[in-house]
């Protein structure tokens, strides 16, 4: 019998039904992008309120689409970290209520490990451990090494902005809407990625696997609004496209450089990738090229498994198979853990 997975870490309210064979029987995602578009970013209060309104209908829809009754659910899984605390607590409360009323096991899983586990759903046994994991999204830019699906060891992460956050903020500087990623990608198609020499902070520092995007964002700001000027310049369409293309190129190269370095340092030849920024086609193809150069297998799931979803909550089966079951004391943890393992 299948499990119900619930995901409310940030924008998306999502629920999925997954069998122990890791077959996705249903996967429902209600995106809040439209609500947030007005604010050029995720608005947490709106996020929480929308989660409250949507969580039960979404769960009902997931069970209906899977063709099962709630009573057939064998376990309830929920993403408990990291994310917005208000949003996390709504998913967690729903999961606890359902698990305790059905008297089935409750499992708390890590949202980032689940993003990487989406590769198991998309590629099955092609995913062999140890592996390197890259999560690139609006809230995260992190590299991990993994010896098992549920064990994450941080190799590095952003020291300032997440890459998706940089896309959103640069989009805002260029007068584009939210979410910024798709709009920058579209605008960049008409631009020359070599037109502006923008910084790639940390990208060439081979001593660490960390990322930095704040300096890149500021450099774009200087092009739009030079330091000594009183006002921002009004850019032509071509200037905006060139700037978007140059920014995208710098951001993608910064990410890819560290994945390459992680392959060299660990010697691992499997890279799992997750997070909404992998929707970016320039990043996808740059990662694929990197894989060819390093003879590494780069696993990038299809888009619907890269952005936030609950199907990746299939990782809960790994917890169940290891007898890692939670109780009703289970708590949400908003912050990302920062302890690093030394890389030999």
């Amino acid at each position: 019998m299948p499990l119900l997975a619930i995901e409310t870490t940030c924008d998306e309210t999502a629920a999925a039904i997954i069998s122990q064979e890791r077959r996705i029987l249903s996967s429902v995602v209600a995106s809040q992008d439209e609500l947030h578009a007005r604010w050029r970013g995720v608005v947490p209060e709106i996020a929480s309120r929308a989660h409250v309104e949507r969580i039960i209908p979404i769960i009902d829809q997931a069970t209906n689409e899977a063709g099962i009754q709630q009573s057939q659910i064998e376990a309830v899984a929920v993403a408990i970290r990291p994310g917005l605390i208000g949003s996390l607590l709504i998913g967690l409360s729903a999961a606890k209520a359902i698990a305790s009323s059905l008297q089935v096991p409750l499992i708390g899983y890590d949202h980032l490990a689940a993003h990487l586990y989406a590769c198991r759903l998309a590629f099955g046994e092609e995913l062999q451990y140890p592996a390197i994991g890259l999560v690139a999204s609006g809230g995260h830019t992190s590299l991990f090494q993994q010896h098992s699906p549920i064990a994450l060891q941080a190799l590095g992460g952003t020291i300032d902005d997440a890459v998706g956050e940089a896309f959103d903020k640069v989009a805002s500087l260029l007068g584009l809407g939210y979410p910024g990623g798709p709009q920058i990608e579209q605008l960049a198609q008409n631009g020359n990625p070599r037109s502006h020499r923008l910084p790639r902070p940390l990208a060439n520092d081979s001593s660490r696997l960390d990322f930095s995007f704040s300096g890149l964002k500021t450099a774009v700001r200087y092009r739009v609004w030079p330091p000594q000027a009183q006002h921002a310049r009004s850019l032509t369409d071509q200037e905006r496209a060139d700037l978007a293309a140059s920014f995208q190129q710098a951001a993608v190269e910064s990410v890819v450089a560290k994945v390459g370095l992680a392959i060299q340092k660990t010697g691992y030849r499997v890279v799992t990738v997750g997070g909404g920024v992998t929707a970016n086609k320039v990043l996808r193809s740059a990662l694929e090229d990197l894989g060819k150069r390093h003879r590494a297998t780069i696993l990038i799931p299809p888009m619907n498994l890269c952005t936030d979803n609950a199907a990746m909550g299939a990782i809960a089966w790994e917890h169940i198979e290891r007898n890692d079951i939670a109780n009703l004391e289970l708590d949400a943890r908003p912050n990302i853990y920062r302890k690093k393992q030394p890389v030999r």
């Binding site: 970013g41 995720v42 947490p44 208000g86 995260h140 300032d160 902005d161 704040s214 000594q228 908003p334």
Partner: protein, 172 residues
Amino acid sequence: MSSNESVESSRTVTCEIKNLDDLHQLASRIVKHLPQSALVTLQGELGAGKTTFVKAIADSVEIDPAHVTSPTFNLITIHESPENTIRLVHADMYRVTDPDELIETGWDTALVVPSEYRCWAFVEWPQKIASALPAHRLSITLKVTGESSRQLTIKGTGTNYEQIPMLIMQSS
């Protein structure tokens, strides 16, 4: 700006910093004069260096600045100094549109600390929650003056803060 601010007395100083070294030097002077429990707001455009400023503060109290990342996504992050004597609350109101949304950040619980602690809250984009902010605070405004240079305006409002701008300028 909150309406009751005008009745509080305040002092303002302005300093020009040429580069990151200057910023770190200034940060180490500021932390010497912060009260045991302090509220500091940071205003400035995208790229003005608000998070970079908090990194410099963190560095001067031996919190790893690499761990001080933009709180835009999670709204609030909490850092503790090595001996757990200083709690640094780093908040970002960029995405907040209504002061009522502050409850989402866990802001109130973050500021409750044992009395032997020092607890300093640095709030980016305070203008988003202006009406919910106490008038007594240190308000820092960062202005871009060049590729690496910034002008910082430091304003102390209220009894515990009024003297701080002058003390910062006098100390070395």
